[in-house]
């Protein structure tokens, strides 16, 4: 296309301003920013729920909330953190960084991109609003197991529609990312030259497209069981409550990798940058990611060992689950090998990334212990599982998000984030994180069930410790807020290549990245 017509088609008209700018924007950077702000707000809301849970569990006895409300808090904490905080945060990163990393002018479908984001606030309104309807929010756990979820009040219906809307948002967002990665790479940017973050997101997007519709189907069946007399999950009508669990976990297990693969991507960008050494095994990292994704479709029933499957079923799902340790191990070994004989410095992003590897691996190991079916019979639905998944979700997904945020803040804001505060944030977080969640392993092993508002006396001291840790951890997160606000407002100016060892196209554009980048595609050699 000739350059002249191009200028005509795409002159930069002064678009809407003020609030309308954000509502109508088609710019991937604006949209990425909105995703991240939204997810941080959701993180705080989910966090406040977690703190209420921890306050109730500080001591034996009922002090702060009543059991029914406690269950609502647990349910909504899980839903808000998973669908409101972690997933949108990664989509925000994808929006900001993928076009910059592959040299594209924007996302493939910029208008649809806007809609993907703007579906989230309505979903959040429905979800959080459900606290205020008669009967309160759904109290069936984030897994919404039937038939308990069939017993719930209107809050459950609101949650179902919220999940539908978030599903639409995720599917559109995922399709956008797939198409952007496949179709908008700059000349010379072959797939196997792509930064790993793009690879992990490409694979994550496929997971999303494959499993979000299944979740939509599952909750739709709950809806019809609730209101239209169907019997999907009712044995009297020939259905089976356990069928819900199969469908849910067919979504649910890939879902947890949806929340970790982009984290692997972020860490794989950061480690080489601060080790000043290329990633040890790029190709094997790509294959490992793909293997994890493929395996994730064949392990779902490891959440259901206590439902009473036939032995053959238990064994199959146990073996398949254990296999996932292999590609994940490949990743951990690769990161360590990348650090080996590098020239490392430990600025804030690197601290978070190494912290991630260390603590995430602990979560991985406890996952593997859960995967051993006989052991899982003991720990299923106890705080051991709660410990496991907070190690992989908080110390995994969330820590990687912080690592990525510190790494790319210079690109987003044009200023270097405060090293002092960033390091403080890291050290407070990792210490309080372990104070909060490490004792939960002991609680679970010793027999404390999850999702209970009150517990037997022998669990008192570890619970008190976890509660204190949780408040410390929560407060530490406010440091991050301060860092970001300060970084937006000013501070040391960031160079285009903000970190000495950073590689990739995103570091070739100025900091902050101009509103429009790569309108003329770069050539990658």
């Amino acid at each position: 296309m000739a350059a002249v017509t191009h200028e005509q088609l795409h002159g930069h008209h002064p678009g809407p301003t003020g609030l309308m700018r954000w509502i109508t924007t088609t710019n991937h950077k604006d949209i990425g920013t909105m995703y991240m702000i939204f997810s941080f707000i959701m993180f705080l809301s989910g966090g406040v729920m977690a703190l209420t849970i921890r306050a109730e569990l500080f001591q034996p006895g009922l002090q702060v909330v009543q059991p029914e409300f406690f269950n609502q808090l647990t349910t909504m904490h899980g839903l808000v953190m998973v669908f409101g905080a972690i997933m949108p945060a990664f989509v925000g990163f994808a929006n900001w960084m993928i076009p910059l990393m592959i040299g594209a002018s924007d996302m493939a479908f910029a208008r649809m991109n806007n809609w993907s984001f703007w579906l989230l606030p309505p979903a959040a309104v429905l979800l959080l609003g459900s606290f205020f309807v008669p009967g309160g929010a759904s109290a069936a756990g984030w897994t919404l197991y039937a038939p308990l979820s069939v017993q719930m009040g209107m809050g459950m219906d609101l949650a179902i529609f919220a999940i539908h809307i978030m599903g639409i948002s995720s599917i559109m967002g995922a399709i956008n990312i797939v198409v952007t990665v496949l179709n908008m790479r700059a000349p010379g940017m072959t797939l196997m030259k792509m930064p790993l973050f793009c690879w992990t997101w490409l694979i994550t997007a496929y997971l999303l497209i494959a499993v979000m519709p299944v979740l939509a189907g599952a909750v739709t069946m709950i809806l019809t069981d609730r209101h239209f007399g169907t019997s999907f999950f009712n044995a009297a009508g020939g259905g089976d409550p356990v069928m819900y669990q199969h469908i849910f976990w067919f979504f649910g297990h890939p879902e947890v990798y949806i929340m970790i693969l982009p984290a692997f991507g972020i860490v794989s960008q950061i480690i080489p940058a601060f080790a000043r050494k290329p990633l040890f095994g790029y190709a094997s990292m790509v294959y490992a990611t793909a293997s994890i994704a493929i395996l994730s479709f064949a392990v779902w029933a490891h959440h259901m060992f206590a439902t009473g499957m036939p032995a053959a079923g238990q064994l199959f799902f146990m073996y398949a689950t254990m296999l996932i340790a292999v590609p994940t191990g490949v990743k951990v070994f690769n990161w360590v090998a990348t650090m080996w004989r590098g020239a490392m410095t430990f600025e804030t992003p690197m601290l978070w990334a190494t912290g991630f590897i260390f603590v995430f691996t602990m979560g991985g190991f406890t996952g593997l212990i859960c995967a051993i079916a006989p052991i899982d019979i003991q720990v299923q639905d106890t705080y051991y599982v709660v410990a496991h998944f907070h190690y992989v979700l908080v110390a995994g997904s969330l820590f990687a998000l912080f690592a990525g945020a510190y790494y790319w803040l210079p690109k987003w804001t044009g200023h270097m984030p405060s090293e002092g505060l960033g390091k403080l944030h890291f050290w407070c977080s990792i210490v309080f994180f372990n104070i909060t969640f490490f004792p939960m392993h002991f609680l679970g092993l010793a027999g404390m069930p999850r999702r209970i508002p009150d517990y037997a006396l022998q669990f008192a001291d570890f619970n008190a410790m976890a509660s204190i840790g949780a408040f410390g951890f929560g407060l530490s997160q406010l440091i991050f807020l301060v860092v970001v606000v300060k970084c937006v407002r000013g501070g040391e100016r960031a160079a285009a290549r903000a970190w000495e060892g950073a590689e990739g196209l995103e570091w070739t554009v100025p900091s902050p990245a101009p509103h429009h980048t790569f309108e003329e595609a770069p050539i990658v050699r």
């Binding site: 080996w340 010793a446 009150d454």
Partner: protein
Amino acid sequence: MPARYNLQAPVTGIAEQINDMHTLMLVICLVIFIGVFGVMFWAMFHHRKSRGAVAANFHENTAVEIAWTVIPILILLGMAWPATRTVIEMKDTSNPDITVKATGYQWKWGYDYLQGEGEGIRFLSSLSTPRAQIDGGAPKGEAYLLEVDKPLVVPVGKKVRVLLTANDVIHSWWVPAFGVKQDAIPGFIRDTWFRADKEGIYRGNCAELCGRDHGFMPIEVHVLSAEKYTEWVRLQQAATAAVEQASLVPQSPAL
């Protein structure tokens, strides 16, 4: 006091195996952990720029990559072997001495002795901790939240098969010391088994979110010697007979 850092002390063969397996897993994971992070921290200390390290530029090494794929697979095989044996043993509910059906209700358990000594006994079992203890109006007792009005009673050393079902939503019958946890699914019967090797009182909880009082439907099992168990059965049956006698006379016409 039950173990505070580990699984509760096992009183069945299965629970014993689970304990051993858990210890084995823990040791293997710990060794790998120390190995991997030993290397990482060594590198972090020695290969840092401030200590004058200069970055090497090596990457991709097929031999290393094959090794760190194959060795973990072998380790996993080593873990899978004992687990497989235990799974198969846990699933073998054949030839029980006693069969009890446990039904989950919101929020209590119903027990129904179906076969073996005690056949015909049935009762409901619900939390006996007084409300005042929960609300803080009274000091909490020793077995706070783990005590019931009528415990399940079984003889020591006998294979007890437990059939599980539920009346409303899914519950889960869990006694940690037995290494038994089985979901109770409305409309379906699932089974599990245990053979307690030691007399005593063993406590557990409902282990599947089942609504408001999910945290308040414990399981208490009394394991008695053969003689005491026989005595208990006799008392139960006598009591049941008395109740039946009484209820024969004034049946309410409304029913």
